[in-house]
């Protein structure tokens, strides 16, 4: 699916990620985690061709990203950035229609087929009753669903989400994550997202990609990678993992910082 080799990323003179390599597992939900400033979003942007690598290779289906036309890529890779902006008067429908841009002709006209996909994307995200509402007037969770619907209208095989749960209350966070997980299961869309919450990362991802100090610190199945030692090394926190008796799920219990800070208890 996506193959990253010896990739260097950075801004101006500052290098953020140095010589990282990994392969995305097709059909999986992969979550990128790491401390603030470790380069999670930077990595996601580069994979979505929004940031030019300093060096190295990103391949999508055995072709370098730079060799595929950006419009072709938009038909199989969709990106939901961290702070998406749209004109204040756009309705859900207007927004989702934009998702068909890569399929439109040079005049930008949409055909009946395109509107079918738009309607399907709106149904899939359960926005049917909000179709003609302005996106700016929606609640945070609804708004995030509208942006996901726009991405869906691109009919992607691979969906990137940059911190899709920030600024949402807890119920809306779960609503968005459950939607993402459903898109992965039912439509077989591979997902790569950046999350801050470790328990949500464990619950909703097949694989985690841990970014730390410019490197991929670990990459693999969530239950194998997420260990007490890793949390101490990467995040500087003490945690305990327990199995919940009722749900059988493996849960993370954060206990505090690992004592590196002078005021730690």
């Amino acid at each position: 699916m996506m193959h990253v080799e010896d990739l260097y990323l950075g801004y101006e003179n500052r290098m953020i990620l140095e010589g990282i390599s990994f392969d995305l597992t097709p059909g999986a939900v992969t979550t990128i985690i790491g401390p603030n400033g470790s380069g999670k979003s930077t990595l996601l942007k580069a994979m979505a061709r929004c940031l030019k690598p300093k060096m190295g290779l990103i391949q999508y289906q055995d072709k370098s990203l730079t060799q595929i036309s950006t419009k072709e890529l938009a038909k199989s890779i969709a990106l939901l950035p961290q702070a998406p902006q749209i004109p204040h008067d756009y309705t859900v429908f207007d927004l989702v229609c934009q998702g068909r841009f890569p399929y439109s002709n040079w005049m930008g006209r949409l055909g009946a087929e395109d509107y079918d996909v738009v309607n399907w994307a709106i149904e899939a995200t359960q926005l049917g009753n909000l179709v003609h509402r302005e996106v700016a007037t929606l609640s945070g969770g609804e708004r995030q669903r509208a942006f996901i619907a726009m991405s869906l209208a691109q009919e992607p095989d691979l969906l990137f989400l940059d911190e899709p749960t920030t600024h949402l209350d807890i119920a809306h966070q779960f609503e968005v994550l459950e939607l993402v997980s459903r898109l992965n299961r039912e439509m077989n869309i591979s997902i790569v997202m950046v999350l801050h919450d470790l328990s949500q990362a464990m619950k909703y991802s097949d694989e985690v990609l841990v970014v730390h100090e410019g490197q991929i610190y670990a990459h693999g199945k969530s239950e194998e990678v997420m260990q007490e030692q890793l949390c101490a090394d990467v995040f500087g926190i003490r945690v305990r993992f327990v199995i919940d008796e009722i749900s059988g799920e493996r849960l993370i219990i954060p206990l505090g910082t690992n004592g590196a800070m002078p005021w730690a208890v």
């Binding site: 902006q85 998702g99 006209r109």
Partner: protein, 346 residues
Amino acid sequence: MKQVGDRTSENLSPLATLQKAKAYRISIIVAFLLLAVLAFLLSCAIGSYQASISQVFRAIFVDTEGTARNIIWNVRVPRNLVGACAGACLALSGAMLQGMMRNPLASPNIIGVSSGAGLGAMLVLVVWPQFTYLLTPVAFLGGLATTLLIYSLSYRGGIQPLRMVLSGIAISSLFGAVNNAILIFYSDRVQSALGFMVGSLSAKSWIHVRTIWPYTLVGILLALVSAPRLNVLTLSEEMAIGLGLKVERTRMFFIALAALLAAASVSVVGIMGFVGLIVPHIVRLLIGSDYRYLLPASVFLGAALVMLCDTLSRTVFMPIEVPVGISLAVLGAPFFLYLLRRRKLV
């Protein structure tokens, strides 16, 4: 406070629903077109020589000589056509810049066309008056060159709109200072440049029509065809890239097109800055941010507004003629503020 908010939202929601109707948007475009036609006829009929609408038609289509033909066909028709083209170009240019820069304050001034053309005009009108016949080409090239300067100054591995806006403001103030210096050093010759600095349709003839109409036509056609791309550019940069738009190249295209349109207009009628800022906003308040509708509506409203204001300029203080740039600002600013207070803008 709460009451005010409630009232606005009550006023807004039916309008917001209405905005979505395609029919409503198209009818607004048609209304602006009719307004432009009406303004044209009115302006041809009214003035120191009064004619009826039927006389206007006869003078345009039937007569080949006579006073009416002379005044209407040789003076008023070209003057109106120049005004309509200039208004359409500036409104279109402003609309595209506001969209692509995602900045409501963007206008042809921001990309330096006005200041560059103004400086060029000042040089040939005031400093080297023997070259006055070069006014139009010098102003045109001055405008385009300044855009290029601002573009390259703000280019760092790509164009960041805000950086371009700020560079544009800096360059404009710099050129403004040079302009003022010229005004002071050559204070005896300033009179000849005043008309240009405020924008005037006085003494515009068929020669000027021939200069401006090809740019207007090509500009309008290109703008309409590329409206969907402009729609994608109004989203945040990463969204636009994610949707498969070649953002950098598209931005360059719109900057070049906006500069060309504005330079064509400014070099013929002078600096009429307000149209480019205000017309797109009026249209946006009425029909929303979809550029497939906003651009054609801006074209017609821009043309109509300039012709209407020019008619007033010619007639209100007859026989003294006020430059159209002044009446545009005097009438446009209060109307714009009125709209601004009623609806949300950005």
